[in-house]
Every structure is written in C-alpha cells, then in structure tokens.
C-alpha cells in the first residue's frame, strides 16, 4: 500500500476539453475542465465597453490537490449560482465567468478562476467574493489532498448537505479510516 500511495495517481479524465454552460444572452459562462485553466479567455469573456471594472479571482492550491466532480450536477449548481448573482445585481453586474479545474492540480497551477465585470469596482470585489463563497459552499466538486502515505478528502464545511458531521471546524478531513483502503 505504501508504494502505491507514494504519488497521486490521476483518475482518468471523464471528458476532454471544457464542459460548459454558456449563456451569451445572460452574459454568464460556467465550465469544468481537466486542462490548465485559461485565465485570459475567462477575462475576455467578461470584458465589456460598458463595464468600468473587471475583477479576477484565481484559486491556487498550496499543496498538490486532486479534484473530482459529479459533472452534470456541478454544472447545474454553477449555473444556478451565476443566474442568482446576475439577477440580484442586475443594475451593475455585466458579465460573469467561473471555470473550475478537475483532476490533479500541481502546486503553482490554478484550480478555479472567477472573472466578472461591473460598472464600478466596489461591487466587483463584493460579487467576486460572494460568488467564490457560493461555489465553495454548493458546487459538487471534491478535493483530495495527497500525502506521502495516501490522500484525504477535504470538506469546505461540515454538514453542508445532509446531516452534520461530529466536530464542526471548517476544512474538516474525512476520518482517515474511511480513506485508508482506497488510496492505492
């Protein structure tokens, strides 16, 4: 078991390229990909001559992480988040794009990009933060942190869905005994 767990073994990508829900009329775009994130493309999606501010958030793991997803449900949740933000900020939010990476994300590469354009910068910062919080709270994507002796699935918060776990701190790892057997 120890040799097998020495290095993360990437699970096979479930699809190629980007799986996305593009709503040109609503000016929203959400996507999932196993490829390196194209931050410039995300920014270009939200540029608007009417928007006075573009804010970009880039999530970067500080350890090697592996992300898995339930793609159709994650895309549905992402679409719902951007639609909610769009309608709650109709007068100011011009365009919004969220793309999350899947599979192994090595240190130094990007795990998520959120780009949005607004009329004024204060709203851009606020909406970007709100968007990130909703994504972390709702979207059906899971990260596994790798150690020399195996991996541990993380949770952004306990009891996000279903019943609460014992404990209550954030970033609570799933009990190690759950994980011992399969990380090989």
């Amino acid at each position: 078991m120890a040799d097998a767990a020495d290095a993360p073994v990437p699970s096979k990508p479930a699809f190629e390229g980007v799986q996305a829900v593009d709503d040109p009329a609503g000016k929203t775009y959400v996507g999932l990909t196993y490829d390196k994130l194209d931050v410039t493309a995300a920014i270009d999606r939200v540029r608007s001559p009417k928007a006075g501010a573009v804010v970009v958030f880039i999530g970067k793991p500080i350890t090697t992480l592996e992300y898995t997803t339930y793609a159709p449900l994650a895309l549905r949740s992402l679409s719902s988040i951007v639609a909610t933000l769009k309608s709650a900020n109709q007068s100011t939010l011009h365009a919004l794009a969220v793309v999350h990476r899947l599979g192994i994300v090595p240190i130094g590469e990007d795990s998520v990009v959120i780009a949005l354009s607004t009329s004024h910068r204060a709203e851009a910062w606020r909406i970007a933060e709100e968007c990130l919080e909703l994504v972390k709270d709702k979207v059906e994507i899971w990260k596994r942190e790798w150690f020399v002796d195996g991996g541990i699935w993380r949770a952004n918060r306990d009891g996000a869905k279903g019943e609460a776990l014992a404990g209550g701190s954030s970033e609570e790892p799933v009990p190690p005994e759950v994980l011992e057997q399969a990380d090989r």
Partner: protein
C-alpha cells in the same frame, strides 16, 4: 481455473450494468463514498423508497453509514431529495442516484 473465475466475475459485472435500466437504478459514489466502496457506481435493484437506500448500502458495505453516509446528501436524477421529508419518495429503476459528500471545491 482461477483465471477463468476472474473472467466470469468481469462478465457478470458488466451484465449487471447493462441491466441497470430495467431492474435496477444506478447509485453514483464520489470522493469519500467512492473511496469507501472502492468503486464509482453500483446497480441497485429497485424500486426502493429513499428511506431504505442507506440501510441497503450499509448492508453491502458495513460501516458505510456511520463513516460516510451520515454526512452525505442524496440527489435523484440531479435533484436533491430531503432524507426526512422525501423519505417515502420512490427511487425507480433507471434512475440515477448520486451520493453527495460535503463538497470542497476552490
């Protein structure tokens, strides 16, 4: 003959998958649930009320309920069901049921 046995098991598993839409529904496992079961999905004989599913899976994977399922939500055909309010909702054959552990994107 041992080699032959392994092959037969492979055949019966794929046969189970093919039958999924007629006599069974599909249960998908993610993250800690996939790690615990050692697989990404199961074909479960249906129909079955929502309230019976975790018990059925506990029978198949002892300890699963306490260690993993107790913190999981359930999505039937991409819509979340409430484990209490929707306990009587029937899962039909051909349905896709996702076991959803606490999420951790970002």
């Amino acid at each position: 003959m041992i080699h032959g046995e392994i092959e037969i098991r492979g055949v019966s598993e794929s046969a189970e998958c093919i039958m999924a839409s007629n006599d069974t529904f599909t249960v998908l496992y993610f993250a800690a649930a996939a790690t615990y079961t050692g697989k990404s999905s199961d074909a479960v004989p249906g129909p079955m009320p929502v309230s019976k599913l975790f018990g059925y899976l506990e029978g198949k994977y002892p300890g699963f309920r306490k260690k993993v399922l107790s913190s999981c939500a359930l999505a039937v055909n991409l819509a979340y069901v409430d484990l209490v309010e929707d306990a009587g909702t029937e899962i039909n054959n051909g349905d896709e049921v996702g076991i959803i552990p606490p999420v951790s994107s970002g």
